[in-house]
């Protein structure tokens, strides 16, 4: 048994959001960062306190977020994205693409 397709259930829960993904490429032997725009259906919410409690002591002070994107996997671990001029770093991906969404754990980037 698996989770049914959640697309309909998510409809009222996500909203269209512009995400800028920072892509790294090598130009003339140097790393160059460029922004690529994605329009996605996003739900962004603070990570549950119970989850944060399980993290290491220093990591608990970081700003943890759960991002639910109504799409297949668009991002990778360690990717940096920008939502409303705030940078987030993807730390974990849960692939629920068979059910119509992907869940990411992100922190507000510290660099």
């Amino acid at each position: 048994m698996s989770v049914p397709n959640m697309s309909r259930a998510l409809r009222g829960w996500v909203k269209p959001t512009l995400i800028k993904k920072i892509e790294k490429m090598t130009v003339d032997f140097r790393v160059v960062e460029t922004e690529i725009d994605f329009n996605v259906m996003l739900n962004k919410q603070p990570s549950p306190e119970k989850t944060i409690d399980r993290n290491l002591q220093g990591n608990r002070a970081w700003k943890w977020w759960s991002l639910i994107i109504q799409d297949t996997i668009l991002l990778n671990v360690d990717d940096i994205i920008v939502i409303n001029n705030i940078e987030y770093r993807i730390l974990n991906i849960t692939d629920w693409s068979e059910s119509g969404f992907t869940k990411y754990t992100a922190i507000e980037d510290f660099t």
Partner: protein, 161 residues
């Protein structure tokens, strides 16, 4: 820049694909595959000489510093390519192409150090990693405009008496 020329020499001589050799920076991501990846970084410089000259033809101050700069070439791979091909770094730096680029860009590969095995740093992740120090003799020059006086007003001395 010298570091870019070093990358060019190693990339061409080892026939590495685009993106397999980078200049060290805080933002590069190591590749996820098993193939060779080369990182070049710049270290300390020893000052050999510095001088200032005036170029009359252009009215410019010419400032020159001669240096020995230590560069570090690191070759890594998850498979055994780094073990098998690490010597090719030294071959590349002493190649005919390298000599031609050195003459064109006014620098000299002064000394190539021993190949250091840094594989142990990676521990259980099993990444082969070798470091080759390369000392390069080069000069840096900068030209700036300076004020130039070639005529002086005569001083008038008034004697009251």
């Amino acid at each position: 820049m010298i570091i870019t020329e070093l990358c060019n020499i190693i990339k061409n001589e080892m026939e590495l694909a685009e993106g397999r050799i980078v200049i060290f920076s805080g933002s590069y991501n190591a590749p996820y595959d098993s193939e060779i990846f080369v990182i070049i970084s710049q270290g300390n410089s020893k000052i050999i000489a510095s001088k200032n000259e005036f170029d009359e033809s252009t009215n410019e101050e010419v400032k020159t510093v001669t240096l020995y700069t230590n560069f570090t070439v690191e070759i890594t791979s998850k498979n055994e390519s780094a073990i098998e091909r690490k010597e090719e770094i030294i071959m590349a730096l002493t190649s005919q192409q390298a000599l031609e680029i050195q003459e064109k860009e006014s620098f000299k590969v002064f000394r190539i150090g021993d190949i250091l095995d840094l594989t142990f740093i990676e521990g259980a992740s099993n990444l082969y990693r070798y470091q080759i120090p390369v000392a390069i003799s080069h000069l840096k020059q900068k030209r700036t405009n300076v004020n130039y006086y070639d005529s002086f007003e005569k001083t008038e001395v008034i004697d009251d008496e």
